[in-house]
Subunit: 205 residues, 2 copies
């Protein structure tokens, strides 16, 4: 069964809250507490959990450990996936540093750039390769996902290279619209869009 994108997003957020919550040694959590943390309705939270086959208990709520396990089974199958970072400037370094300290099923295993000053070095804890080595290194290190942080003008060319190197998922930070085949999962993050949305609501507050 295919879970919708928005639900996967929410399940991922629930899990990160639950992983923190478990340190407080609470065995159970109520849907309305989860809902409040994310500005959702309790009904939405219950629907999401129902979708992955978990029912809560009216008096006690949901079992925290069971939720964490079931979300893992549903969204990441508990297998590690390897990520490449392409374009290691300020943003690339920030993302790499952030990901490398995380306890997650997602492992950043290589960075790529065209700058000879960077190639062959270890940057933010990750080995940097030339972009021309992408195809070989991607196969060798079983990389399935790429984070694209190259300058906008290079975005489409590098995306084409990623696709031909067998990358199956791309997180595009370039703010440029790129085109990929339908068998590659593309997700854009565009800071301007987020800021314009905030600006819109801020005006009327």
């Amino acid at each position: 069964m295919k879970i919708p994108g928005r639900t996967v997003e929410r399940l991922s957020k629930y899990r990160r809250l639950l992983l923190k919550y478990q340190h407080f040694r609470q065995a159970h959590i109520f849907s309305h507490d989860m809902a409040r943390a994310f500005n959702l309705t309790p009904a939405q939270v219950r629907r999401d959990f129902m979708l992955i086959g978990i029912k809560g208990n009216h008096r006690k709520g949901y079992e925290v450990q069971k939720l964490i396990g079931k979300i893992g089974e549903a969204i990441d199958n508990n297998t590690t996936q390897h990520i490449a970072l392409v374009g290691i400037g300020n943003l690339g370094k920030a993302v790499t540093t952030y990901l490398s300290v995380l306890d997650s099923k997602l492992k950043i295993v290589a960075a790529f750039d065209i700058d000879n000053q960077k190639i062959g070095k270890v940057l933010a804890g990750v080995s940097c390769y030339g972009i021309d080595e992408l195809s070989v290194v991607a196969k060798e290190k079983q990389i399935s996902i790429a984070v694209l942080t190259v300058p906008p003008d290079f975005a489409q060319d590098v995306a084409n290279l990623l696709v031909s190197s067998g990358i199956k998922g791309i997180l595009n930070f370039t703010s440029v619209h790129i085109v990929v085949p339908s068998n590659v999962y593309l997700k854009d993050y565009d800071i301007i869009t987020s800021l314009e949305e905030i600006a819109y609501y801020t005006k009327s507050l």
Copy 2:
């Protein structure tokens, strides 16, 4: 009339495409061309335009200049808003550099940090102030929006300071859940959530 968040997001994206499209000297664009660029249905695009009072022409499509103007009126009132960047590490620098070169109604006018090596300097084109000056500088420079790129442990404390300094919108990059009063518009961006969503779909591709 209040436009829903998702619609504001899409309108912002449409406009950025249209601003590029106008360079090709095309006076009109069809809803299905817009739709294809964003993996939407043409009906969705038409509904969004209808919401801000624009109807297309069956034979010619929509007037590009009119769309750009109307989207501006609807989502940003064509007024400039001032942004502060709080926590100018790698990610903060990347965001600042990116925003400062953009031709946008959003202007980044100050950065804040606790590092004495940074305070008083110009970083990525923007003056850096001490976090203790936030309240004064925010008023002086009429800052309404803040981008939060501090380490996770400081997120809530800095958010409280932003709120008490009169900031009305926050883009939270810290990956930590923060709480703000209901008269402040908060938007989170969490790279892990995006990557877990990609990982989920990539598995089955």
